[in-house]
């Protein structure tokens, strides 16, 4: 566990946590479609509970479903775009229809691979959260994935755990802050003038935006809605009630992800914020470049978030 600001590899946390969980629980398996390097230590320690199928996402998810039917708890390590899209029907029909405890651990969420649109995962949250029985969690802090994985041992349903690039990211919380509870949100910074909601790597951007706003005398709250499904509706409604204004930013299409989930709740509850803005990837296929460069280009990184809050409050 690491203090705030330390750089940690979330993929490394996946590997270490899987290794620990497998030592403790004989029904934990690790599967991968040719991205097994981060779980190498687990694979070497528990070779009879590790399967690398090569580059074959449909197959790896079907096998995971078969293992879960036999009472196993498989963690499938894959790349977010492919584990959400290539195997989508297996995710739905083999895993979710049968409500099996398969864990999909996908890294490269959003535009973080820099690989261009073939490798972007900007639809994954929308696709995965629409599946009945599937929970969707997006990790902002590299250690959060470990907390969620541990917590998931008592969770008997399908679960998608989304990571950013996951190679080297700053810790944003003290370790004990992260319970990994599925269905909860986390107030990353308190404030009373407006709420910024984000998930994954955009939480750090939202915190940076809040710093900028503080310099202007605006006291912004930042909420880490890491559990996109189920959503912490109580926290959401409280924030709207207490701060009035709401900006949602995410490394995902602006429509279909967290912002849409939030908008659904607000409409259903008949709650109208004083102002609401959603930031994310517009309806286009993005080009190349690093994720932070693209967050700037499409206006949903720290500057874009701060500007949206200022506009709302103006």
């Amino acid at each position: 566990m690491s203090a705030i600001g330390t750089m940690v590899s979330a993929r490394g946390v996946v590997g270490q946590t899987l290794h620990e969980l497998a030592a403790e629980h004989p029904h934990v398996w690790g599967l991968t479609s040719d991205v097994g390097d981060p779980i190498k230590a687990f694979a070497q320690a528990f070779p009879d509970r590790y399967v690398d199928v090569g580059i074959a996402e449909q197959n790896v998810v079907g096998i995971a479903a078969g293992l879960a039917l036999e009472g196993m708890m498989p963690f499938v390590a894959g790349m977010a775009p492919f584990i959400s899209m290539r195997s989508l029907e297996q995710n739905r029909t083999d895993v979710c229809y049968q409500d099996l405890p398969v864990r999909f651990v996908g890294w490269g969420g959003g535009l973080t691979t820099g690989g261009g649109s073939t490798h972007n995962a900007m639809e994954d949250v929308a696709l995965m959260r629409t599946l009945v029985n599937m929970a969707v969690v997006s990790c902002s802090d590299p250690n959060m994935v470990g907390a969620v994985m541990r917590r998931s041992m008592a969770y008997e349903h399908p679960l998608y755990i989304r990571l950013g690039k996951g190679k080297s990211d700053p810790c944003i919380y003290e370790p004990e802050t992260m319970t990994g509870e599925i269905g909860a949100g986390l107030v990353a910074r308190d404030g009373g003038d407006a709420t910024i909601m984000a998930h994954g790597e955009l939480v750090a951007e939202a915190l940076a935006a809040a710093e900028q706003l503080a310099a202007d005398g605006i006291d912004a709250r930042v909420v880490d809605m890491y559990s996109i499904k189920p959503l912490d509706t109580e926290l959401l409604l409280r924030c709207v009630d207490e701060t009035g204004y709401l900006v949602v930013t995410e490394d995902h299409l602006a429509f279909g992800g967290l912002a849409s989930a939030i908008a659904d709740v607000l409409v259903d509850e008949g709650v109208r914020p004083k102002g609401f803005r959603r930031l994310g990837v517009p309806q286009l296929y993005t080009g190349f470049g690093s994720a932070p460069e693209q967050w700037v280009k499409y206006g949903y990184g720290r500057d874009g978030v701060a500007a949206a809050v200022r506009e709302l409050l103006a």
Binding site: D48, R49, V51, V53, G54, A56, Q58, N59, V61, G62, I63, A64, A65, G66, L67, A68, L69, E70, G71, M72, P74, E89, Q90, T93, D94, Y97, Q98, D99
Partner: protein, 298 residues
């Protein structure tokens, strides 16, 4: 060689399964996948009534053989074969199939119908699931087998070959794929359909051991099932086994055989009675030919 009395018993069960399929196809208001049901009658009967170690009274016993119906549209065939074995109430199947709130639908649902190992229906999904069951059994060093019945048509799906690749690479000797090779898909038109040959060689190329069999000869099918090598998780040369069963779509009913129009359909009363009579006539012929009619059985 299988015992003549056993062959006779399985032939009679196969005929009974055909009669039940025909009756359901006659009175059910919707279409039944009758062509593909008929092509796998002897395979299902040989598996559920001879080859597989299963007990309907203790259907979740960890030592049971597992069965995955990858060609999920053959669900009604599986329901009937299982009901004949004692899993389900046949009258309930016949009375409620396909109706609102019935557990017996067009594609099998594990949640609604315990005894079914996995929900299936979308093609190309069964074999990867079966591979998962086989991995679990191997890791726990259990000696049961995992059987997966596939239609040959669904083996056009890439996911089948992804999992065939995995099973071959990992030497899953406890896995048996049974392929209902009836050579006709829903839209297979003479001369312009997919040609899957050299079919057995494809499985061999994925490091499977292939056995070919007449999929309507219960004696031959039982011989193959009886000769399966014991499951040995320590055998470095273990291979998954593909039983390529040569079958006829619509088998047993002259007006249905090899007629893609009967991939799915309903029967008029007249057609149903004609077909039922043919089942009885063919059974009598078969029993006479195999000597089963001379009292060697019961």
């Amino acid at each position: 060689m299988a015992d003549p009395a056993e062959i006779r018993r399985l032939d009679e069960l196969s005929a009974e399964m055909r009669r039940l399929l025909l009756r359901l196809c006659g009175h059910y208001s919707g279409a039944i996948h009758i062509g593909g049901d008929m092509s796998m009658v002897e395979l299902l009967i040989s598996l559920y009534h001879h080859g597989m170690n299963v007990d309907p009274d203790d259907f979740a016993n960890p030592e049971r053989d597992r069965f995955i119906l990858s060609k999920g549209h053959g669900a009604v065939g599986m329901y009937i074969a299982m009901a004949l074995r004692g899993y389900f109430d046949m009258d309930e199947i016949m009375a409620t199939y396909g109706q609102l709130d019935s557990a017996y639908g067009m594609h099998p649902c594990k949640i609604q119908l315990p005894g079914v190992e996995s929900s299936t229906g979308s093609l190309g999904h069964g074999l990867p699931i079966a591979v998962g069951l086989a991995f679990a059994a191997r890791q726990r060093r259990e000696s049961h087998r995992v059987f997966c019945l596939l239609g040959d048509g669904e083996t056009c799906e890439g996911s089948v070959w992804e999992s065939a690749n995995t099973a071959g690479s990992y030497g899953l000797g406890n896995l048996v794929a049974v392929i209902d090779r009836n050579k006709q898909m829903m839209s297979s038109l003479e001369g312009v359909a997919m040609n899957l040959e050299p079919y057995p060689d494809k499985w061999r190329a994925f490091r499977w051991r292939v056995v070919e069999v007449d999929g309507h000869d219960v004696g031959a099918i039982c011989d193959v099932l009886d000769a399966l090598p014991p499951v040995d998780h320590d055998d470095p040369n273990a291979q998954p086994i593909a039983i390529v069963a040569h079958t006829v779509k619509g088998k047993g009913i002259s007006f249905m055989e090899r007629n893609v129009g009967w991939h799915a359909g309903s029967l008029t009363d007249e057609q149903m009675h004609e077909a039922l009579a043919e089942v009885d006539a063919r059974l009598a012929e078969r029993l006479a030919a195999t000597g089963g009619g001379i009292g060697g059985g019961s």
